[in-house]
């Protein structure tokens, strides 16, 4: 059965690219337009992996990760940050918030699929 990935990004082109690539690779993808939306969508269903952007209106990626980690069924779900900032500070913040890893933008679809495969098979 296809695994579900929650893709959170305010940029619709990026989000559609992520969704399209992962769908092509056989995953089920739920899209969310910002942290708030991501949180609501995560609350209503089970997902196997969360991919989130950092810089978003309403709620940023770090806040989303912290809130997800506070939810009983999201304590162990892998969360990867998709970020243009690959600086140490951002990584440290991501780790502190509870992310499991990061993927720097820009990335090509193959790279994304490769990383997602590594994490959830």
């Amino acid at each position: 059965m296809a695994k579900t990935v929650l893709a959170v990004d305010d940029s619709s082109s990026l989000r559609q690219m992520v969704a399209f690539s992962l769908k092509a690779a056989g995953y089920h993808v739920i899209e969310a337009v910002d942290g708030q939306d991501g949180l609501e969508k995560a609350r209503n269903q089970t997902v196997d992996l969360v991919l989130t952007d950092q810089n978003m209106p309403r709620m940023d990626g770090l806040s989303l990760i912290k809130l997800l980690r506070g939810m009983a069924n999201y304590q162990k779900v892998p969360i990867l940050m998709l970020t243009t900032e690959s600086g140490d500070e951002m990584k440290a913040q991501g780790r502190a918030a509870g992310a499991n890893g990061w993927l720097v933008k820009p990335f090509d679809p193959q790279r994304l699929i490769e990383v997602v495969k590594k994490v959830i098979g």
Binding site: T46, A92, K105
Partner: protein, 715 residues
Amino acid sequence: MTIDMSQFFQVFFDEAEELLAEMERLLLAVDVAAPDAEDLNAIFRSAHSIKGGAATFGLSDMTEVTHILESLLDTIRKGELALTIQHVDAFLSSKDILKMQLDGHRHGATVDQDTVADVRMLLQSLLQDSLSNAVVPVPSVSTATSQENAAGAVHCFRIELPQVAQRDVDALATELGLLGQISTAPLDGKRFVLTLTTTESVSDIVAICSFVLDPDELKITEQAIPAGSATGDINGEEQGYGFFQPLEQIRNNAKTDEERGYGFFAPFVPNGGGQTAVGAEAARPAADQTRHAPPIEATEVNINEKKTPVRRESDKAGAAESSSIRVSIEKVDQLINLVGELVITQAMIEQRSDGLDPMLHERLLSSVSQLTRNTRDLQEAVMSIRMMPMDYVFSRFPRMVRDLAGKLGKKVDFITHGAATELDKGLIERIVDPLTHLVRNSIDHGIEMPAARAAAGKSESGRLFLSAGHQGGNIVIEVSDDGGGLNRERILAKALQQGLPASDAMSDSEVWQLIFAPGFSTAEAVTDVSGRGVGMDVVKRNITAMGGTVDIRSAKGFGTTMSISLPLTLAILDGMSVKVGDEIYILPLGFVTESLQPAPDDIKQISGQGCVVKVRGDYLPLIPLYQMFDITPRFTDPSAGIIVILEADGKKAGLFVDDLVGQQQVVVKNLESNYRKVAGISGATILGDGGVSLILDVSALLRSSQQLGLESAFT
């Protein structure tokens, strides 16, 4: 598997365009002295998103510009640099070049690389200034607690362990691995040394180690960070991704507890952060698990296959994503065209059923009338798809007004009204240029310099209104300023000087119309902005070509209002059908003021100039339509036929036809794209009986009627 990225280009282009527009809107609204933090964030986010997308789609020129822009915005957003008007100007210029680059990628438009280089240099220099002037936060003194340190600097610790069992070393390595990047190396055969790159503090390391060994036996020293190493990246660093924990651990956590219940190993491994609660016993199975990862893989597959019917909900949630869709304009136009055909077919059916006996065919006739209603509703609904809010045009002006006013040293308050008013997409695109010209004129010629305004007892800031609203079947767009108004004397003097027919006896509105004459300009100095004599006639021509009209209202000292009236759509037209001989022509109803049958005495022949008709004391030129198109009419005597009085471009004339047929809505078919341009004809339509009828270009007709008169004067 290869994935074609080009399919997302269009989405990115649209998105980037929206983001740029949003960025500009925010920049124009920003209060430089006290910028709103949320606005700065939003501006930053726009630049950031464009950068992300541009980088993903390989548009490196845009990535480069947004990168500098983003860096600069970031320092301002963080309060490290105060926002100045220079910044806003530079940001606006960057928006312009980004738009130019975007158009370059999108439509193959030319990109002026010099401008790009200039703006980049400007941004760079501002960024340099920011780096040298920035309020550098004082680094906190070495007593940082682990909390403060968590999001801070990266350290590399060398941890010399005392002599402990191998399994304890493994357990510690796993646990400390949660803090960052760890490596284990033997020290002297029996002991081990761990190297940990982390953002956590020494005390955290000691706390974790204390579960396994006596902290006093530990020797922790800080080392220089090895080049290329970053916090907690287990692997994939060069590939642009990384994980904060061993992959196996993330993967095992990924299984739900329920799945885990089926599994072979189920040690509970808490995720990062809960180190203090973890003892050596808990850590050991975690390490074991790492070594046994492959078998888990195998079981995972089986388990997953058994558990299928779970995912309903999420499908539904995904489907309820968006309430609007993007459709190409071609599809919409095709739809409109098809509805147009349907309207014609419906009219044919209606006309053919007219002669039927209502008693015998009652049910057919009631169906036909229902079809008529449905067709009309369908037509309205489909036409509304092409409608766009005037905001599409209005939103361009705040920036232009700001730049112009700045350039001219004037103060202008810009106010829009009715931005939600909708207009056909085809018209909205064509109204941009004329409107831009009028707004420019208002700022350049209309609104006075602050000192002059103050002297006249007005506020220093001029007011410029841009409004749109419906009036009957038309949309009326007005550009209004509270400036000096048009100068009647100067316009008249200039008109006479240029040999235009002008006299003191002309009414104000006639005088105002003079400014639409080609080459007319009263501006004393030709400014950089306007007043070069090209323009108003072009404005007028463009609007007339759209089937619209321009009116001017002006009062000296109080301001000027330019009022543009446009039909709501170009695809359907309210027409008056007239008959000459066997032909039926359509006159756009907007140009028809009245129709009458003149008395023979009211027709006067002017030698060599054709005929005129007297209407309530005024003599109007008479255009015999049969002569224009060289057809045999039923009547050659105007008093036997009908005169339709037409008005366009401030000119009036009487069109002599055989008969009026009626008034009806017609679907306009473009003659140019189906045949070729024909002088005096603006299009064609299909009538209810299936016949084709030509739609007359009234403005052209009025113009050529004067030529006709001149020609006959020479022959």
